[in-house]
Amino acid sequence: MSSLTPHPDPETLLRLADDDLSPADAGCVRDHLAECGACRDRMDGLGGLLTDVHHFHQSVIKPGLPDPPREWSNPRWSKLARPFPTRRYLAAAAAVLAAAVLLRWIERPAQVSAAELLQRAEIREQTAAPAPRRIRIRSKNRSWTRAARLDHAERPRNGDAAAVARMLEDAGYPWEDPLTAASFAVWRDRLPGKHDDVRKSDEAFVVTTSTSAGAIEVASLTLRATDLHAVSATLRFRSDETLEMSELPAETPQPAPPNPPDGAPPSVSRTIPRIGASEELRVIVALHDIGADLGDPIEVKRNEESIDVTVAGLSAARREQIRSALDGIPGVRIAFEREAGRHFGNTSPPRSVSPVTNPANPLVPDMGDVLIDASDRAVEHAHALAALARRFSRAVEASLDNTGRAELQRIAADHLNAISAAAHQLRVALKTTASPGVNVPDWQEAAEGILQAAMDADQELNSAASDVEGRLARLRAAVARLP
């Protein structure tokens, strides 16, 4: 380890690689790298990764995107930018022309192709959280419901359902999960000749494909406009049979029974909450990944039916970012309030202006801003870690699946690493000893203690008391309790 400067954190190394550090800071980090083999190795590893990522972007992502549908032409920008003539007869002519263009525009075929739309919908189906759903199938004479997706072993063996499965199979249309873009695309892709039509309304896209090949003459699929989810389909067979499939509304859970009277045996509730810790974790992960769990005025509250996210204040761009991050998570309801005039339990309290930034402060006169920044970061992340621990206790964590537990550990590790990095800066400045650290599996138990230590350190840094020696001692003691 270098005896001069602390080990640079990952952000510092990345900023060095990207030429984002000031010359002075870059010089310090380079000096450190010259002395510290471990950090040189980290820097080499980062350089290799950045090269790989660049290669991935240039040779995988960009070439993999579709080419422009038309040849590029070099427009005359001055012509495109020219306003309409103002003379009256030219204005009238322009109005007629504009009306004609508008008419053409209204009547134009849909911009999006059926193949493209189905492909997007299919990918959304693949990436959506699995949720059981039921569909209604209506033929000429019968109507019945079934699970939207059946395994091969569940193939109907007799009755109308079996006949329909056979019809679909004969037509090359998957019977296992028929009301999906994927199944529609499987059938459509196999057709040697076809004609597509895509209609868009405010609510939905309707893809209709007609063909002269195969048992199905015309098929149409309705995709919800907001998320391209398949909600209904109609298949018209050459045999004059028509199948209509539609998604049934999701079943709502029964209200919880009242508490049994004292002494009565508890009844077994049939209520299955639709929104659980997994969905709540998805919200927290989404907020974490946009840095919105570090003091933004956001409150997340899980109910049985929904996860209510209340956001107060913030810029329009930030609100949109939050909305976008939470989009698609089941049960999320977002409310944006204009001002941050309420208390939000998960966020760190407002910070006071530090007297350490005042050069007259005698506590750590040379390191004021650095220390305050480090302390701020430690407190922010400690608040976030403690809030996470309160929300996801060990018992709640145990109820998550493996992916959920890994995500939770990742977030906790992010916070712990940030706190450790900040604490390291504080220790170097204060010439105090290193902490034994915190094992990630124990983070729930350690979170409140870490928060208290971070707040104690922050308080000493921000104190206006003149007892410098006492403050330094208390500050060192608090920093020593940080991971």
């Binding site: 980062l46 790989d52 995107l65 038309r70 920008w77 001055s78 997007r120």
Partner: protein, 164 residues
Amino acid sequence: MDALEQQVTRAFEDARDDIYRYLLTLGLAPAHAQDAAQEVFLRLYLALRKGETIQNQRAWIFRVAHNLAADWRAKERLQPLDSDMLALVRDRRQSAEAELLEKEKMQRIAAAWQGLSPQQRECLHLRAEGLKYREIGEALGIGISSVREFLVRAITKLQKAAYE
């Protein structure tokens, strides 16, 4: 063709493909992306003709492209499809170019890329297009500290995926 027209045409020829592909990653369909790419350079022409000073033209056109895509997505009520586009990339790569790109590391990066947040991916896209952190922040309408945070988290995730 006057000097301004030539200047914008040169910029158009240099960057239109980059802008077009950036717009694709933001979820625009190819036809829309191509129209929007042209619109970006028309706006550049208009801004320069009005005498606006543009310090960094490349950052400026990416910012305009980002805003156009955001407007379009809001109008169409569709969600960003960045992950979808990348899933398409993955699928194509596995089928058509599998032999060429079967390096295990690339696959792991591709898988980890899917797990990045849209903001992290956008920051990486713009970084790969040569924008500095401040310019990325201006393009996305976020602070430079957020850009750093997004990038370091993205890189950390990719690093774990690629090497661990």
